[in-house]
């Protein structure tokens, strides 16, 4: 399925806002956007169109978005992004543990909205765009993220005495994947530990350093003078 074929249901009681957001989505390429002004309408439209994603306002004339989501969750696992006009809602949302996929506070920019919508759709439906990053080019080597193998240019591999194909360990793969996702941007030590060890990741900083060194030995031409996997002192790492 193509990203832009995803159907989106937009629920907000303010007509003008609905139209504006609908405009944003259509300009971004989402051509199947349906709208609803209250909970009742939303449930009807939902069962009619079976959208791939719901943008849901928290305050609706005939109930709140939280309870609507609770009802929807009984019949569907559709991803939901909340639109809210209250700062306090975020904590309520976290407290409820409803399984909403994201949260946007009004007012928001079109760019932010589209970014989040796209991110959720990609994550949930694994639609295209991720594939583009499957092969990461790092100078003279290519990393195949599909198989987790580093492939070196034959000339270089002979020059630096390295095998042409090196397999990444699971941890190295996770680190590289996280860095590649945020390529060009700094990723904090904490975010990396979080990506590799998930929960209870505290205390792995030193282990992370070891994994980074091993990763460099596989992807850098000169591991002691890295060109691609850079250290940002005190903060984290960056893949350029």
């Amino acid at each position: 399925m193509n990203l832009h074929d995803c159907k989106i249901l937009l629920v907000d009681d303010e007509k003008a806002l609905r139209e504006m957001v609908c405009g944003f989505l259509q300009r971004a390429g989402f051509h199947e956007v349906t709208m609803a002004g209250n909970c009742k309408e939303a449930e009807e439209v939902f069962s009619d169109t079976e959208p791939h994603l719901i943008l849901l306002d928290v305050m609706l004339p005939d109930g709140d978005g939280f309870s609507l989501l609770k009802r929807l969750r009984k019949i569907s696992e559709v991803p939901v992004i909340f639109l809210s006009a209250r700062d306090e809602d975020e904590s309520r949302l976290r407290g409820l543990g409803l399984g909403a996929d994201d949260y946007i506070t009004k007012p928001f920019l079109a760019e932010e909205l589209i970014l989040r919508v796209t991110a959720v759709l990609k994550r949930v439906y694994h639609v295209k765009a991720i594939r583009e990053e499957e092969i990461i080019a790092l100078g003279k080597c290519l990393v195949d993220m599909g198989s987790g193998v580093v492939r070196w240019d034959s000339v270089v591999s002979e020059a630096v005495g390295r095998e042409r194909e090196i397999t990444l360990t699971a941890k190295e793969y996770a680190i590289l994947q996280k860095l590649a996702q945020e390529r060009g941007r700094i990723v904090t030590i904490d975010a990396l530990c979080d990506a590799v060890w998930r929960e209870e990741n505290y205390g792995y900083e030193n282990t992370l350093v070891v994994h980074i060194r091993r990763l460099r030995e596989k992807i850098e031409e000169d591991p002691s003078h890295p060109q691609y996997l850079l250290t940002v002192r005190g903060l984290g790492y960056r893949l350029v």
């Binding site: 904590s91 920019l109 904490d190 005190g234």
Partner: protein
């Protein structure tokens, strides 16, 4: 560190004063007024009573008015008249208990009394007649009233009991006083709480209502700004609208947050937070932002700081740190890159986070305003820094702003570290 503590004490003192303010003052007033009113009432009632009722005839007076004659005794006419008027009676007993003189003595009473009779009536009643007894030389004067005219009761306490009462009286008084204070305090507190809550909700409501229209201002100005059919000038104008609406968004957020922090009603969602992680993620988000190209952030976290854990609302901490960095960015970097140094360490029970920049530093007026809680003065807009301070204080921490000798300003935050 001295200033630090002072500010904290100062703040606590003011907080306590505000907390107790209405309650204590009004309670003191009420208690004092009630006491004064009671005393005035008691005194005036006694005076009025004594004046109108000139009281019953006393034994002593009768004795003075009684002169022995050959045949017995003779009562002064005026006193005799009083006996008539007040419907009282009297009798005089000799050593043997024989009545030797009497006036208006009820008929049912006998003419002779034994020692035990006297002992009994001295405490209680004589056949239902209330009597007062007075010894006069070897005789006994008994002044009586009609039945049901006087209530008599004998009280006696051991001296040790009286001493005990004397000692405990203050305790009783104190307990009573405290009880009244607490009661009144609870009532006033409830009242003020209700009022504060209404105010917070009002502000939250307004900020909510502004957000939806602002969404459209922001959304459409953004669309216009990016529309390629429009002339450059118009797009520039749209950019200004968008930028200003984002400023308004921040303002609304701050207004809401300030009002909640001000009245300590913001339910802090406290969780175990590692400040090291928060500092890093905030710093990185600034560095990753393309707009911050002219920004250098140097983060220095030692081993103790790395391990520190505080109990805090992560979102609010992020907000505080962002505001501090924003402030440095806003007030520096005209000629050279903004350099911010953030250091984090743990010492004893506190976790210290220090932000230092290479900007112009804080003006004396700003420092003054950040130290005191007054809102006067300060031409500069330091709302962002005030929010930082409120957030830190709401977490029970301390915060201090100052200028470095080598130029630039600094801010030290101390938060209580957990599990130490």
């Amino acid at each position: 560190m001295k200033d630090f503590r002072k500010e904290k004490i100062n703040y606590n003192y003011k907080k306590i004063l505000r907390f107790f303010g209405y309650g204590i003052l009004s309670v003191f007033g009420i208690v004092f007024l009630t006491g004064v009113l009671n005393i005035i009432f008691l005194i005036s009632a006694t005076v009025v009573y004594v004046n109108t009722d000139s009281s019953y005839i006393q034994g002593g007076k009768v004795m003075e008015a009684l002169t022995p004659t050959e045949s017995g005794y003779e009562l002064d006419g005026e006193v005799a008249e009083k006996f008539e008027r007040q419907d009282q009676w009297a009798m005089l007993l000799d050593q043997t208990g024989q009545v030797i003189w009497s006036i208006r003595k009820p008929e049912e009473l006998e003419d002779r009394y034994t020692l035990s009779d006297v002992a009994r009536m001295s405490k209680w009643y004589l056949k239902g007649y209330p009597v007062q007894i007075r010894a006069w030389d070897d005789r006994i004067m008994i002044v009586g009233m009609q039945k049901e005219m006087m209530w008599k009761y004998n009280i006696e306490f051991s001296i040790s009991w009286m001493d005990y009462v004397k000692r405990t009286f203050w305790v009783f008084f104190f307990i009573n006083f405290v009880w009244i204070v607490v009661l009144a305090f609870i009532f006033t507190r409830r009242f003020t709480k209700k009022r504060e809550r209404a105010r917070i909700e009002w502000i939250a409501g307004i900020s909510h209502d502004i957000r939806t229209p602002l969404s459209m201002v922001m959304g459409y100005s953004d669309t216009l700004e990016q529309s390629e059919e429009l002339p450059e000038e118009v797009r520039q104008q749209a950019a200004v609208i968008r930028h200003q609406s984002m400023v308004m968004k921040e303002l609304i957020f701050d207004l809401n947050l300030t009002s909640q922090l001000e009245y300590s009603m913001q339910a802090l969602r406290k969780e175990a937070v590692r400040p090291a992680e928060v500092v890093r993620s905030v710093a990185v988000s600034f560095l990753n932002d393309a707009l911050s190209a002219m920004l250098e952030i140097d983060v220095e976290i030692d081993e103790s700081g790395e391990q520190a854990v505080v109990k805090a609302d992560r979102q609010l901490l992020v907000r505080a740190f962002r505001n501090l960095i924003n402030n440095s960015v806003k007030h520096g970097g005209q000629t050279e890159a903004v350099k911010i140094k953030i250091s984090l360490r743990k010492e004893k029970h506190n976790c210290y986070i220090r932000f230092q920049d290479n900007g112009v530093g804080y003006s004396e007026v700003v420092l003054q305003r950040l130290r005191s809680r007054t809102r006067e003065g300060a031409a500069e807009n330091i709302r962002g820094l005030e929010i930082v301070r409120k957030i830190i204080l709401a977490h029970g921490g301390t915060i201090r702003f100052g200028n470095c000798e080598e130029g630039g300003g600094y801010c030290v935050i101390a938060l209580r570290a957990r599990g130490t």
